[in-house]
């Protein structure tokens, strides 16, 4: 938010209270996240880790899309997996591939969907959706068919659809992977309009400048947690080390 400056509101954001107690998640036999315990006031948190470290699973856990097999996950006191209605106001999530997220054929329907699911009537949802589009300067998109949009435009639709629901905390799961330079810059700018708390998951530290805290996840466990610049520096050092070795050659079991 220090980059854009002009539209950022001056009031302080109340942090989102993140609470994980010995949270464990396994996919069949494979344990993806092991005994994670965390008690954090999140404003802007970066989550780094190698591919396969469990970052995406953590994202889904925090968004309440899956429940931990053991332990609990709470955001601002809400059990996000069980109390879905309340969870929708607390946390939203933006995934990597917009093609795997967009459900409806037109932009308006896509934006109105989440708004309707939060309890608004169909008409109220559509009015609100139009308002969101106008806020982003995209009022002319309302009748647009999603399949006519470019990749970057679809990303923006996904961003609008989730921020329209005004969650207090937004989780970004590698949202900028594979985007070209201009699209990435434009989306970063659109993202800066969002005034809530943020958890940005990425394996690429270049996306994560200016964050308050960072969490480094390694093979389903917390390798480091603390001030963003420091943790990320440690992470980069380790990744460079690994780059000089050859663990890509190892087959799993």
């Amino acid at each position: 938010m220090t980059q854009s400056g002009q539209t950022a509101p001056a009031k302080a954001r109340p942090a989102s209270g993140l609470l994980l107690e010995t949270a464990r998640f396994a996919h069949g036999e494979k344990v993806v996240l092991a005994d994670l315990t965390l008690d954090l006031a999140v404003t802007r948190l970066a989550v780094v880790g190698r591919n396969g470290s469990g970052k995406s699973t953590l994202a889904r856990l925090l968004a309440g899309l899956v429940a931990p097999q053991q332990g609990q996950v709470r955001i601002n006191g809400i059990d996000v997996a069980r109390d879905r209605k309340a969870a929708l106001c607390e946390v939203g999530i933006l995934f990597q591939n917009p093609d795997h997220q967009i459900i409806f054929p037109t932009v308006l329907e896509e934006l109105a969907f989440g708004l309707g699911q939060q309890g608004r009537s169909k008409r109220a949802a559509e009015t609100e959706a139009r308002a969101v589009l106008a806020r982003f300067g995209k009022a002319h998109w309302q009748e647009a068919y999603v399949n006519t949009l470019s990749h970057g435009q679809k990303h923006l639709v996904c961003l609008m659809a989730i921020t329209a629901m005004a969650p207090r905390l937004l989780i970004l799961d590698e949202p900028f992977a594979g985007l070209d330079i201009p699209t990435r810059a434009q989306l970063t700018r659109y993202l800066s309009h969002y005034t809530g708390n943020l958890i940005h998951i990425s394996h690429d530290p270049a996306d994560l400048t200016g964050y308050d805290q960072a969490l480094w996840l390694e093979r389903g466990r917390i390798a480091a947690l603390g001030e963003s610049d420091q943790v990320i520096a440690e992470y980069v050092a380790r990744m460079t080390e690994l780059g000089e070795a050859d663990d890509i050659a190892d087959l799993a079991g």
């Binding site: 889904r60 968004a63 899309l65 879905r84 209605k85 969870a87 929708l88 939203g92 999530i93 995934f95 591939n97 093609d99 795997h100 997220q101 967009i102 459900i103 409806f104 054929p105 969907f113 989440g114 699911q117 399949n147 659809a161 989730i162 629901m165």
Partner: protein
């Protein structure tokens, strides 16, 4: 993708699939001509003994497959008890369970590759007529390859739905899912064509 072949190795795993299938056809047919309750009891006991031979893991797997029959067993049992023809009902139930058990036994002791080989062999008359069976073979491989991939995409879409709704996904999710699948179809057609397509370069 994991098939229903049992990981517990038995001697039957090595018997030719074609022979097992032929024997199964014969046995199932015979089952339908036998009417004696005593005979069916003996047959089912024998089949269950075959399941028990390779050990508990095998038996458990086999019984799991039989579980899906319970509603039918219940309905038939009730019908015949009310009707007063309990013996007849017992024969029907026993015959049913034995037939499913025998068929499932073949599935559990036959590897997927062996089954595909049988299909290949069954198509020999087609090849004799000049019809290529390569499209079928590729189609089988494609389905096995595509199903887990589509499953992942389906789950991701489902996540995207759940991320914005307190309720489970409705049928509306099938449309974007189908579109994702169709996109895959385009990529795969290209990949297939880039590697020679369906034109077989040698006739067997």
């Amino acid at each position: 993708m994991i098939s229903l072949t049992s990981p517990v190795r038995t001697r039957a795993h090595d018997w030719p699939a074609g022979v097992k299938l032929a024997a199964l056809c014969g046995a199932t047919l015979a089952l339908f001509f036998i009417d004696s309750l005593a005979a069916h009891l003996a047959i089912l006991a024998g089949v269950l003994a075959l399941y028990a031979l390779p050990g508990r893991a095998f038996l458990r797997g086999g019984l799991a497959a039989l579980r899906m029959l319970w509603p039918f067993v219940l309905v038939v049992a009730l019908y015949h008890l009310i009707d007063g023809s309990a013996a007849e009902g017992a024969v029907i139930v026993l015959r049913l369970v034995s037939a499913v058990a025998l068929a499932n036994l073949v599935t559990m002791t036959t590897r997927l590759t062996d089954m595909i080989a049988v299909i290949h062999w069954l198509c020999t008359p087609l090849r004799a007529l000049g019809v290529s069976t390569r499209p079928l073979e590729i189609a089988i491989a494609l389905v096995i390859r595509l199903t887990p991939v589509l499953l992942v995409k389906g789950r991701e879409l489902n996540d995207a739905w759940l991320a914005r709704s307190p309720r489970r996904a409705t049928w509306r999710i099938i449309l974007p899912f189908t579109l994702l699948a169709l996109d895959d179809a385009d990529h795969i057609s290209d990949a297939l064509r880039a590697r020679g397509g369906l034109v077989s370069t040698e006739e067997n």
